[in-house]
C-alpha cells in the first residue's frame, strides 16, 4: 500500500512539474479578435494602414523580420552575403517554402514582389532610390545591386508596415497596376474570406514550413496553434470591451485607458499595455504660412507643458512617458538624450519673448485635429490653452480623420495638424523625420545626415548621426513631440502564448479552452 502511494506521489510530481513550468500549447479553436475597424485594402504593398499590416502579416511573409531588439533577422531568407564594398547583397532563399496556392516560392516570385514593393509602397520607394538592379541568380538566390552601401536595406525588407511581402509572381501579374485580386502568401495562416463589416477569416496553413530556430521577436519558429482567426471589426470601444468580457471575443484592441483599473479586477481578463506604441505629436507646416518662421516654432515648443497634455490624452500615468528622444528607450541602440533639454520647457516667458522677436501680431494658427482619435483632440485642446496663455491665437479645427488626412497634404490650409508616429525599427525610415511627408520638415543638413544614416551600417556611427539629427530636430523644431504613448489592449486569460509587442500577431498563441 505504502509503495503504491509512493509511486502515485512520484507520478503526480512527474506529471505536475512540467505543467507548472511550461504549459503545453493546445491545438485548435477559433480565435476571435475584435479590431477597431476594417482594413482599407488587403494588399500590404498598397497601404500604410496599420490594421492592414496587423491582419495580413499572418498571411504574407517577407525575406526578413525583426528580433526582440528590433534588429533584422531572416524570415523567408536563409541568409545573405554582402560584397562589392557593401553594394551587392546576395540573398539565399529557404528551400521548400510553399505558397498557400501550393506552389513553391522561388527567386522569380521574390524579384517580382520586391520590384512591385519598390514601385508601389511608401518605404519601398524610399529604399528603391538606392537600388540599381535586382536579379534572380538561380531559383533560390536573389541579388540586389545597390548604388551605394546601405545600412537600411535589411531593416526595410523586414519592416511590417507597408512591408515587402512576398507574393507569387502569378498573383502579381494578375494584379497589373491595381490591387491584388488574390491574397496568397507563405505565412502560417491562409486567407479564407473577407465579409466586410463581419469578419476576415484566416485558417491554419497545413503545409506551412516554419523556421527551425525558436521564436525570437517577430521571427524564428511561427506556429499556428488555432484552427482559425476571425478578425472582427467592432468600431465601438465599449462593445469591444464588453465582448471580451462576455467571452464573445478573445482579444480586443485599443480599449480606453481609463478602463485599465477595472479590467485588472476582472478575473477572466488581462489588460495588455502595448509599449512602445507611438508618439503623440503636433506636426508644424514648414512649407507655407506662419510656422515657416523658426522663432514662432521655437516659441510653440517653449510654451508647452507636456505632462497635462499627455494626461488629457491618455488619462493614466501607466500609458505615457515624458521622453524627448526621437526613438524609444526600448530601441536601446538608437535612444539618446542629446538635446532633449528643449523638450517640455514649459517656459511661457521665453515663448512670449520669441513671439515678440518674430513680430507675431496674433494671426490665428490653424490647427487641424480630429475626435475620431480622441487623444489627438484632447492633446490639442490642452496645448491650445497653454499656447494661448503664452500669446498665440489658436484656431482649432476639428474634422474627421479622412478630412484631416486630405487637408494635411495642402500646405495652404493649416499651420499645425495632430497625428501619431508609430514605432519604427529603422530610424532612417521613420516618418517623424522625413522631408517628403506633410509638414515638410526639410532641412539641408538634416537631409544630408539622413542620407548618410540610410547608408551607414555601423551602429555606432549610425547612432552618432541620429544624435545630430535629434539636435537639429530641437534646434529647428522639426515637429512637436508631446510624449511616448502606450495603448491598452485586452485579452481573455485563456489566450496563451500571446505577446504584446508594438506589432500585433497571433502565431504561437493558443486557446487554453
Amino acid at each position: 500500500m505504502k509503495t503504491k502511494a509512493l509511486v502515485l506521489l512520484a507520478l503526480s510530481v512527474l506529471l505536475a512539474v512540467p505543467g507548472q513550468a511550461q504549459e503545453t500549447p493546445r491545438v485548435g479553436g477559433v480565435l476571435k479578435a475584435a479590431m477597431i475597424g476594417e482594413p482599407p485594402s488587403l494588399d500590404l504593398h498598397w497601404t500604410t494602414a496599420v490594421i492592414t499590416q496587423q491582419i495580413t502579416w499572418h498571411v504574407y511573409e517577407g525575406l526578413y523580420t525583426y528580433d526582440r531588439n528590433f534588429n533584422p533577422i531572416p524570415m523567408l531568407a536563409e541568409g545573405h552575403t554582402i560584397a562589392d564594398g557593401g553594394r551587392r547583397y546576395t540573398i539565399t532563399l529557404r528551400k521548400g517554402v510553399k505558397f498557400h496556392n501550393g506552389k513553391e516560392m522561388t527567386a522569380a516570385d521574390v524579384v517580382a514582389s520586391l520590384q512591385r514593393w519598390g514601385k508601389m509602397a511608401t518605404p519601398g520607394k524610399l529604399l528603391w532610390k538606392d537600388v540599381e538592379a535586382l536579379e534572380a541568380k538561380d531559383p533560390s538566390t536573389v541579388v540586389i545591386h545597390l548604388k551605394a552601401p546601405s545600412g537600411s536595406l535589411l531593416y526595410g525588407l523586414g519592416r511590417p508596415n507597408n512591408g515587402a511581402a512576398i507574393y507569387p509572381k502569378g498573383v502579381i501579374d494578375a494584379a497589373g497596376d491595381g490591387q491584388l485580386k488574390e491574397f496568397v502568401g507563405t505565412g502560417p495562416f491562409r486567407f479564407v474570406e473577407h465579409k466586410p463589416d463581419r469578419h476576415i477569416r484566416l485558417a491554419r496553413f497545413k503545409d506551412y514550413v516554419a523556421r527551425a530556430e525558436p521564436p525570437e521577436g517577430y521571427g524564428g519558429k511561427r506556429t499556428a496553434y488555432v484552427d482559425e482567426i476571425l478578425f472582427i471589426p467592432v468600431p465601438d470601444v465599449a462593445v469591444r470591451l464588453a465582448g471580451v468580457e462576455t467571452g464573445e471575443y478573445h482579444y480586443g484592441q485599443q480599449i480606453k485607458q481609463d478602463q485599465y483599473e477595472r479590467i485588472k479586477n476582472l478575473a477572466a481578463l488581462e489588460p495588455r499595455i502595448v509599449k512602445p506604441s507611438f508618439w503623440a505629436t503636433a506636426v508644424l507646416n514648414h512649407k507655407q504660412g506662419l510656422m515657416t518662421s523658426k522663432k514662432l516654432r521655437q516659441a510653440f515648443q517653449a510654451a508647452l507643458d507636456m505632462e497635462p497634455i499627455m494626461v488629457a490624452g491618455v488619462g493614466n500615468k501607466d500609458f505615457y512617458r515624458l521622453d524627448g528622444a526621437l526613438f524609444y528607450p526600448e530601441q536601446a541602440v538608437w535612444h539618446s538624450q542629446v538635446a532633449v533639454s528643449a523638450y517640455n520647457q514649459k517656459d511661457k516667458q521665453k515663448a512670449r519673448k520669441l513671439l515678440k522677436e518674430a513680430a507675431y501680431t496674433g494671426q490665428p494658427v490653424r490647427w487641424i485635429t480630429t475626435k475620431e482619435y480622441e487623444w489627438m483632440y484632447k492633446n490639442a485642446l490642452v496645448a491650445k490653452q497653454q499656447l494661448e496663455e503664452a500669446g498665440f491665437k489658436i484656431d482649432l479645427q476639428v474634422v474627421d480623420w479622412a478630412t484631416l488626412v486630405q487637408r494635411r497634404n495642402k500646405p495652404e490650409l493649416y499651420e499645425v495638424f495632430s497625428t501619431g508616429f508609430s514605432f519604427q525599427a529603422d530610424p532612417a525610415l521613420a516618418t517623424s523625420i522625413q522631408c517628403n511627408w506633410p509638414g515638410w520638415w526639410c532641412h539641408e543638413e538634416k537631409e544630408r545626415l539622413l542620407a548618410e544614416t540610410v547608408r551607414e551600417s555601423d551602429p555606432k556611427k549610425k547612432k552618432a548621426l541620429i544624435e545630430r539629427i535629434q539636435m537639429l530636430f530641437y534646434e529647428d523644431v522639426g515637429r512637436i513631440k508631446f510624449g511616448d504613448s502606450f495603448s491598452l489592449d485586452v485579452a481573455r486569460k485563456e489566450l496563451r502564448g500571446f505577446l504584446s509587442t508594438p506589432e500585433l500577431f497571433f502565431w504561437n498563441a493558443w486557446l487554453a479552452r
Binding site: V50, T52, D197, T246
Partner: protein
C-alpha cells in the same frame, strides 16, 4: 384609384433624380477622399495623388456625374471602391439584417405603443395615464445608442442572456437570429413606441369625445365594441402615419444601432462608406433610403384609402 396610383409612382422619378444629384454633389464636395484613406497615414502626397488618378477621381466633377447618371439609367449603381464589388451586390448583402432589425423594432414599437396609448386614453388623467406618458416622455428623450449601451451592459454583460454584439443570419436558425436582434430591436423600438403611444393617446382622446361614440354608448353598445370597433378604427389613421414615419426613421436609426451592436446591415455599410469616402456606396445607399421613404409614404397613403373611404372622394 389606378390613375392616382400611376400618378404617385411617376412622381417618384423627379424626386429620385434630385436626391441622386444632391447625394452625388454633397459627397464629392465633402473634404477627404478615398485615396487618402486607402494609402494610409504614412503615405506621401505623391502616393495619394497617384492613387487618386488610378481611381479616376481627378476627372472634373460634371464628367463623373454624367458617367454616374449613365450607369444609373442602366440600373447600375457602380462599384464600391473598398469592397471592390458592385454597390447593388453590397446592398443586397446587407438588406437582411436591416430589414429584420427595422421590422422587429417597428413591431415592438406598435405592440408597446398602441395598447399603451389606448389604455392612457381610456383612463385619461389617471395615475396609469400620467405614468405612461412620463415614461413616454423619457422614452422620446433617450437617444437610442444610449439605450443600446445600457441594454448591452444589463442583459449582455451582467446577466449574460444575450450576445453583446454581432449578427446571426436567419439561415443559421430563427432563435439564434432573434437572440442576436432582440437587444438592438428593443433599443430602436422602445424609443419609437413612446412616440406611437403619445400619438395614439391623443388621437383616441379626440375620437372618444365624438358624438357617434356617445351615441354608441347611449344605445348600450358594450365598451369593448365602442373602443376597439368604432373609436380605434378612426383613431388609428394618425397612428398609421406615425408608424410609417417610424419605419422610415428606424432605417435612419439603424445607422447608429448597427454600429453599436456590430450588425453588418445597411447602417454599418453607410457609416463605413462615409468614413472611408466610398462615394459609389454612399450615393447608392442614400438613393435606396430615399426610395424606401417614398415607397413607405405611398403605402401609408394607400392604407388611408383602405381605412377611410372618405379620403377616396377628396
Amino acid at each position: 384609384m389606378k390613375v392616382y396610383l400611376v400618378r404617385r409612382v411617376l412622381a417618384v422619378i423627379p424626386v429620385m433624380l434630385v436626391v441622386a444629384t444632391v447625394a452625388f454633389v454633397l459627397v464629392h464636395l465633402a473634404p477627404g477622399d478615398p485615396a487618402s484613406v486607402i494609402a494610409g497615414p504614412y503615405a506621401t502626397a505623391d502616393d495619394i495623388a497617384k492613387l487618386h488618378h488610378q481611381l479616376g477621381l481627378d476627372e472634373p466633377l460634371p464628367v463623373q456625374l454624367l458617367r454616374w447618371y449613365g450607369r444609373l439609367l442602366r440600373g447600375d449603381l457602380g462599384d464600391s471602391i473598398f469592397l471592390r464589388r458592385p454597390v447593388l451586390e453590397a446592398i443586397a448583402d446587407r438588406l437582411e439584417p436591416t430589414l429584420l432589425l427595422t421590422t422587429f423594432a417597428t413591431l415592438i414599437a406598435i405592440l408597446i405603443g398602441v395598447p399603451t396609448g389606448i389604455v392612457s386614453a381610456r383612463r385619461h388623467n389617471s395615475v396609469a395615464d400620467q405614468s405612461f406618458m412620463l415614461l413616454a416622455l423619457l422614452g422620446i428623450s433617450v437617444p437610442n445608442f444610449l439605450l443600446g449601451l445600457l441594454l448591452i451592459l444589463v442583459f449582455g454583460v451582467w446577466l449574460g442572456w444575450f450576445p453583446v454584439a454581432g449578427y446571426v443570419p436567419l439561415a443559421s436558425g430563427l432563435w439564434a437570429n432573434l437572440r442576436s436582434l432582440l437587444l438592438p430591436s428593443l433599443s430602436l423600438g422602445l424609443v419609437q413606441s413612446a412616440l406611437i403611444a403619445r400619438i395614439t393617446r391623443s388621437s383616441m382622446l379626440d375620437v372618444l369625445r365624438e358624438h357617434y361614440i356617445l351615441a354608441g354608448r347611449a344605445k348600450g353598445l358594450p365598451e369593448r365594441a365602442v373602443v376597439y370597433k368604432h373609436a380605434l378604427k378612426n383613431a388609428i389613421i394618425p397612428t398609421l402615419t406615425v408608424v410609417g414615419i417610424t419605419f422610415a426613421i428606424l432605417i435612419g436609426g439603424a445607422v447608429v444601432i448597427e454600429t453599436v451592436f456590430n450588425i453588418p446591415g445597411l447602417g454599418r455599410l453607410i457609416i463605413s462608406a462615409v468614413l472611408r469616402r466610398d462615394y459609389p456606396v454612399i450615393q447608392g445607399v442614400v438613393l435606396l433610403i430615399a426610395v424606401a421613404y417614398t415607397l413607405i409614404n405611398l403605402l401609408v397613403d394607400l392604407a388611408y384609402l383602405a381605412l377611410d373611404p372618405r379620403i377616396r372622394y377628396q
